[in-house]
């Protein structure tokens, strides 16, 4: 199952422990993850369920490209990192 890790900075606002979540793409992984941690959803995704402007996600070291639909593929052994972009100040 894909493993997911969050930026430390989000922990001050909402607890997001490293975890595993099923899914074949980033959207599926996040949907499953946020089903168990619904408050975290609005910290990562905007009102249209797109990745927030200054958030960034890496899958196996590669920055995802589809920030709106989150369709980038994820394998069963993938490492998904949810970070802040430095552009957010």
């Amino acid at each position: 199952m894909p493993r997911v890790a969050f930026t430390q900075n989000i922990q001050r606002h909402v607890t997001c422990p490293d975890t595993e979540a099923a899914g074949a793409c980033v959207r599926e992984v996040l949907d499953n993850l946020f089903a168990g941690n619904p408050r975290a959803r609005a910290y990562v995704l905007d009102d249209q369920a797109a990745l927030r402007k200054h958030m960034i996600i890496f899958v196996d070291g590669v920055m995802i490209r589809d920030r709106a639909r989150l369709s980038d593929p994820v394998t069963q052994t993938s490492e998904v990192y949810i970070f802040q972009a430095l552009s957010g100040g």
Binding site: H13, D46, H54, M55
Partner: protein, 366 residues
């Protein structure tokens, strides 16, 4: 008189209290975080704080007996598949809360009701003390909204919400830029108000168009609701017919430009402004920080400077950063350079509380 101030700043929400020796900064909540606005609901005693975390988005918190709890922030509905709606810059408009720009309590007869105005232009209403929010679709879906433009920010937003003390269904909002809008049925239908305002930054045929007006701040005299005051990008305007028509007030020294306006709670002829140099500079004229006050409905103005810095002061006062309490005697304002001043004599004289707060967005009594 109110003995408490809530000061929203770039780095926290500061509590300021009136002690026997004067006003002091008593503490801070959300220290280090960007607090853009607060609201104290005098009906319930609850306080609300709007935060903009940047990376993590806009959040809303409500006071509890032991601190604060995060509650729902207004959320835009799903943008219909295939809908092409661009902002004024030609980019797809994100249907997403970019900023909570106004928070207001409903009337005394609707104790759980709150109103919230946002950038990029959505108006929201809660009936359960902010636990949940519904977008006012009648306004969002009004095709006239597409004529709104960015003013104080890249995208349009609702910064002023006024509830009629005689009838809670009557609500005015002001948009930068988009003029003044009024509902007489709690948001079911909307009409444009604001004839008589003048915008000199648009083509001649739009100068007097109510929807082209960049209202910076709209306030209403609670005791005499027919009287409304506007600080506009172009100057100062006053209405005596609930915002249907406005009269421009010119020749106010040192400037008619500014962001905030406050009106006396009982005397509709008394209002305060904080002037600045228009447009490209936006600093106090001649580096002198002053407050202007009229006590005769705008026929004349006084320039109040006692206790305010009169040399090399570059404090700008944002639209939500000037407040008057229920007595009409106590006023407070905060600046972009972290200065906070209080008056206890209707503005005749001012005392500096601190000059070292983070940039101040909003000042509220309560």
């Amino acid at each position: 008189m109110s003995d408490t101030l809530l000061v929203s700043t770039r780095k926290g929400l500061f509590r300021v209290r009136r002690e026997s020796a004067g006003w002091v900064v008593d503490g801070a909540d959300f220290l280090g975080d960007n607090v853009t606005l607060s609201l104290t609901d005098r009906r319930s005693g609850l306080r609300y704080a709007a935060l903009d975390h940047g990376h993590f988005g806009v959040k809303l918190h409500r006071s509890t007996s032991s601190g604060w709890e995060e509650i729902a922030a207004p959320t835009y509905p799903q943008k219909p598949e295939g809908l092409e709606e661009n902002d004024m810059w030609g980019r797809p408009l994100a249907w997403s809360t970019a900023l909570i720009w106004s928070l207001q309590t409903g009337g005394d007869d609707e104790p759980g009701v709150l109103w919230c105005g946002t950038i990029p232009g959505g108006l929201f209403r809660s009936e359960d003390h902010g636990a949940s929010w519904d977008m006012v679709r009648s306004l969002w879906d009004d095709p006239r909204r597409l004529k709104w433009m960015g003013g104080g920010a890249d995208l349009p937003g609702i910064h002023s919400i006024v509830i009629d003390p005689r009838d809670s269904r009557h609500v005015w909002i002001a948009v930068s830029t988009g003029g003044i809008w009024f509902t007489e049925d709690a948001g079911a239908t909307w009409t444009q108000r604001g004839e008589g305002m003048r915008a000199d930054h648009v083509p001649p045929e739009l100068v007097h168009d109510p929807i082209a007006q960049d209202v910076h701040c709209l306030v209403q005299c609670p005791e005499v609701p027919e009287r409304m005051w506007v600080q506009h990008h172009n100057g100062i305007f006053v209405s005596s017919d609930e915002g249907r028509t406005f009269t421009e007030i010119a020749n106010v020294q040192p400037s008619v430009f500014g962001f905030p306006v406050a009106v006396h709670p009982r005397d509709p002829d008394t209002a305060w402004f904080v002037p600045g140099v228009k447009d490209e500079k936006r600093i106090p004229p001649d580096g002198r920080l002053v407050v202007t006050r009229t006590r005769d409905g705008g026929k004349s103005f006084e320039t109040l400077s006692e206790g305010l810095p009169q040399s090399h002061a570059y404090d700008v006062v944002y639209r939500h950063a000037l407040a008057v309490d229920g007595s009409g005697r106590r006023l407070a304002f905060g600046s972009t350079t972290g200065g906070l001043w209080v008056s206890e004599d209707g503005g005749d004289s001012w005392s500096g509380v601190t000059h070292t707060l983070p940039p101040i967005y909003a000042v509220r009594f309560g």
